[in-house]
């Protein structure tokens, strides 16, 4: 187990370095620099342009900048945003709780609905229910997030007035920022009704962001279950006279979970991608929008730092998923 863990962590380091190098180089390959991007029509004299680049340290040779950056990262310093002049880590930590809160809800939504739906579809294979689940999940999987979000807003928020259009909290509430997680902050605040209001704001974004993972999880659960349900030991379990529920929930589902958990782990990456679009539609103040803007403004430190932290998170989650296999399936745990 320890050896497995060490090997996995050993693999993380080169991946990590690769990501640093890639973001560092890619953003600099985009034509234009932070100074040029902000001057607009008015233009700038070459001397002043050079001076501003010098002030940002961007006139040094690339490799010097790179090693300087890596040195900073190793000491936990992600640099300062060239747009807002604030430390990148501060900006990230201000925005990340919003993304995390939404991602957790979307994942819960996807798992809590996707898993049972997939199991039921497998158990009742070939029924109308099965076809319905498969059809709906294919639609969900193919749905452009942006369009789907706007559609829900127009129907539920503008026309029916059931849900708020956007943001995390109504503008009538003034809740102090303690943790950055709106649900926790509203509970801590003395504004009555703000918790329900925050929850209410989560409904549509959760559905929109959770749709694709939901569809993937439902389909994966169904096919994994179908495979397991055909195994000999399931027949044996049934022959022993175990209740149908027990067979499905204990014997089949647990064995079917390994590929499902893998897919759930992989969906974390997808969630981050989806968060960019979902946050855009719902004006959700998370990191997705921040990263896109960093590209547009050539805010090198912000983009590099943001991508780095997200990559680290995704890698950590996938590592945890790998470790979870062992819990789910003892055969993986003992394998050498």
């Amino acid at each position: 187990m320890l050896r497995f863990l060490l090997t996995r962590i050993g693999l993380v380091i080169p991946t990590f370095l690769g990501i640093i190098l890639l973001t560092f180089v890619l953003i600099r390959l985009v034509p234009g620099d932070p100074v040029e991007v902000r001057v607009g029509e008015r233009g700038i004299s070459p001397e002043r342009h050079a001076q501003l680049l010098h002030d940002m340290g961007l006139d040094r040779p690339l490799y010097v900048q790179f090693f300087d950056y890596v040195g900073g990262v190793l000491q936990g310093d992600l640099g300062t945003s060239v747009v807002t002049q604030r430390p990148v880590m501060d900006e990230f930590l201000t925005l990340f709780p919003a993304t995390l809160e939404l991602a957790v809800f979307a994942m819960l939504f996807a798992v809590l609905i996707g898993l049972p739906a997939g199991v039921l579809a497998a158990v009742k294979r070939g029924s109308i229910y099965d076809h319905a689940v498969m059809g709906t999940s294919l639609t969900g999987y193919s749905m452009p997030i942006f369009w789907w979000g706007l559609l829900l807003i127009l129907l539920f928020s503008v026309t029916l007035d059931w849900t708020p259009v956007a943001k995390r909290l109504s503008d009538d509430y003034f809740v102090d920022e303690v943790t950055g997680f709106m649900l926790i902050d509203t509970l801590l605040s003395d504004e009555p009704g703000s918790f329900l209001n925050a929850l209410h704001h989560l409904v549509l974004p959760t559905i929109v962001l959770g749709t694709v993972p939901l569809a993937v999880i439902a389909r994966m659960t169904r096919s994994a279950m179908l495979e397991v349900l055909g195994e000999d030991y399931i027949r044996t379990a049934r022959a022993k006279g175990l209740s149908s529920l027990r067979v499905v929930a204990i014997h089949a589902l647990r064995n079917a979970l390994v590929p499902v958990v893998t897919v759930i782990g992989l969906q974390v990456g997808t969630l981050m991608g989806g968060a960019i679009l979902t946050e855009s539609v719902f004006s959700w103040p998370g990191i997705g929008k921040w990263l896109v803007e960093s590209i547009a403004r050539r805010d090198y430190p912000a983009l590099q730092g943001g991508v780095l932290v997200i990559a680290a998170l995704v890698m950590t989650i996938n590592l945890v998923v790998d470790l979870l296999y062992g819990l789910l399936n003892p055969r993986i745990r003992h394998r050498r």
């Binding site: 008015r42 059931w162 956007a166």
Partner: protein
């Protein structure tokens, strides 16, 4: 069941929401983005300027909705006969905001003005390098070379000496970068070792006190009860940051926003039809144009340039590209600027005549490149589409235009170098002064390589007129000179002036007293909302 639950949650939330809103009169402006910071000295975008406007005053200010000037923190001023010395009489009894850890011990004085300008001007000022220290507008408006000295006569009298007479100087002082900061606050933050707080948690004298900012989420301002023009009709102003255009419109329709900027022109009619909304409109302080590089034949021939002006169907462009949110241009300045010459008659759309003129000039089967911007700009919502329409129009008169574009920064640089034959660009005004368009975009000085005159057109008579106009402060005399300059521009036709975009501001009918500002800033001073 799910539906009923949602309904119940909604009802509960709404009930609490209303109960809460009743305590303070709040106006929600759904702005389009987060500011870089709250100090207009160092930032450059309209989005950032908007967020500083509620907090600050300037010595001289624009009358909301116009490019005319009114006294701000300076009650009055005199200009010496040689146009070099300006004496400002400052308003007395003006209080800076008190907030959190800071409460001012004295009123506004000339020291505050000097400290504000020194930060941008003097390289040895302790604040000069704080927050990146790039004072783009101060530098771009030529202030470092223009101001010779700035001195305090007494607490409420300030003397500014210029190096040369320059009439637009007063208009420059009304620009956002000239917002007056508190010297006391700057000193306190420097002492505390957190000078950047001056830029992130601003203190000013303005109608609203900055209270709170959460990045990409919202900015909260409370009304300043000590404001020198009186307390505002609303108690609280919220900038609810909503970058997506469609979401912004939906939020307005659902009543989550009271005012939104930059709607999609295609949706303006729909918003107008909503009985709960009103849409204010005004021509923006901008111009979108196609410049012909007069240094490259055959565009050195005025006949060719006039012919191209007649070959392009502006009406078609206005409906296809601006979708009704634009007005055809005929002058280099927009009609909201004083001295705009109504009497200039635009070139008619006449391809036959254009063809004849080209033949007269000996131009047949011309191959020319036509450059278009890779990005959307306030004065041109879709440059590529515009280029395609122009290409088709030019083909009708026998000109084969090849479309070209580059990355935005590269694009501007190459245009300024003069690499193009025909190139699209535009301009948004900074201070509402005609010189800010004609001087910057069409003078001989800026026709040099790398300069902003991308037609590379240098007409000495034109330049003489605008130079002369820049040196006198009498508005009537200046207007006369600018009108003559516009006539020359029309005859010489270095550009095809295409359009001035129209700014639409959709808002709830409950909002009273909002005026669309020609300079593009969104101003909430004096705005009220019915409960």
């Amino acid at each position: 069941m799910k539906r009923r639950l949602l309904g119940a949650v909604a009802a509960a939330a709404l009930a609490f929401g209303f109960a809460n809103a009743a305590s303070a009169k709040t106006l929600v402006y759904c702005s389009e983005g987060s500011p870089e910071n709250f100090n207009p000295q160092i930032n450059t975008t309209g989005t950032s300027f908007d967020t500083a406007v509620p907090v600050f005053n300037k010595l001289v200010e624009f009358i909301p909705g116009t490019t005319e000037l009114q006294p701000g923190l300076a009650e009055s001023w005199e200009v010496s006969d040689d146009g070099l010395t300006y004496t400002f009489h400052l308003r007395q009894g003006v209080k800076f905001h008190a907030r959190g850890g800071f409460s001012p011990t004295r009123d506004f004085t000339a020291d505050d003005v000097i400290a504000t300008f020194n930060r941008m001007w003097k390289k040895d000022d302790p604040y000069h390098t704080v927050s990146g220290g790039a004072y783009d507008y101060f530098n771009d408006m030529g202030m470092p070379d223009l101001i010779s000295s700035m001195s305090k006569v007494d607490d409420h009298t300030l003397k500014v000496v210029l190096t040369k007479p320059e009439a637009p100087f007063i208009a420059n002082l009304a620009m956002d970068f000239a917002a007056i900061h508190s010297k006391e606050y700057m000193d306190a933050m420097l002492k505390a070792g957190t000078p950047e707080k001056v830029d992130q948690e601003p203190i000013g004298t303005g109608p609203f006190i900055w209270a709170n900012y959460r990045k990409d989420d919202r900015i909260i301002y409370n009304a300043n009860v000590n404001y020198f023009r009186g307390k505002q009709p609303i108690d609280r102003l919220v900038f609810s940051i909503t970058p997506d255009q469609a979401t912004r419109e939906a939020r307005l329709e659902a009543g989550e926003c009271d005012v939104i900027p930059y709607p999609n022109p295609a949706n303006v009619e729909r918003l107008k039809a909503n009985p709960e909304l009103q849409v204010l409109e005004q021509e923006g302080l901008n111009v979108g144009y196609l410049a012909m590089n007069v240094q490259k034949p055959p565009f050195d021939n005025v006949k060719v340039r006039q012919a191209i002006n007649m070959a392009i169907d502006k009406e078609a462009i206005l409906s296809a590209v601006y979708q009704g949110a634009g007005k055809a241009a005929k002058n280099p300045i927009p009609p909201t600027i004083w001295s705009y010459d109504e009497s200039v008659s635009a070139y008619p759309y006449d391809p036959e005549q254009a063809k004849a003129m080209l033949a007269e000039a000996g131009v047949t089967d011309l191959n020319a490149d036509l450059w278009y911007m890779p990005v959307q700009r306030p004065y041109n919502p879709d440059a590529k589409r515009m280029a395609e329409l122009m290409q088709a129009d030019l083909a009708k008169v026998g000109i084969n235009a090849e479309l070209k574009t580059f990355e935005w920064g590269e694009y501007r640089k190459r245009l300024q170098e003069g690499e193009h034959m025909m190139g699209m660009l535009g301009w948004t005004g900074d201070n509402g002064d005609p010189d800010n368009f004609m001087g910057v975009l069409l003078s001989c000085t800026s026709a040099r390589q790398g300069g902003q005159n991308i037609a590379k057109w240098c007409n000495e008579e034109f330049t003489k007129l605008i130079d002369q106009a820049k040196q006198i402060s009498d508005v009537e005399q200046r207007t006369e000179l600018y009108k003559q300059a516009q006539a020359i521009f029309h005859d010489e036709a270095p550009w095809v002036p295409v359009a001035h975009s129209v700014v639409h501001m959709p808002m709830s009918k409950k909002v009273k007293g909002y005026k669309v500002h020609p300079l593009g800033t969104h101003i909430f001073e004096g705005v009220d909302i019915e409960e």
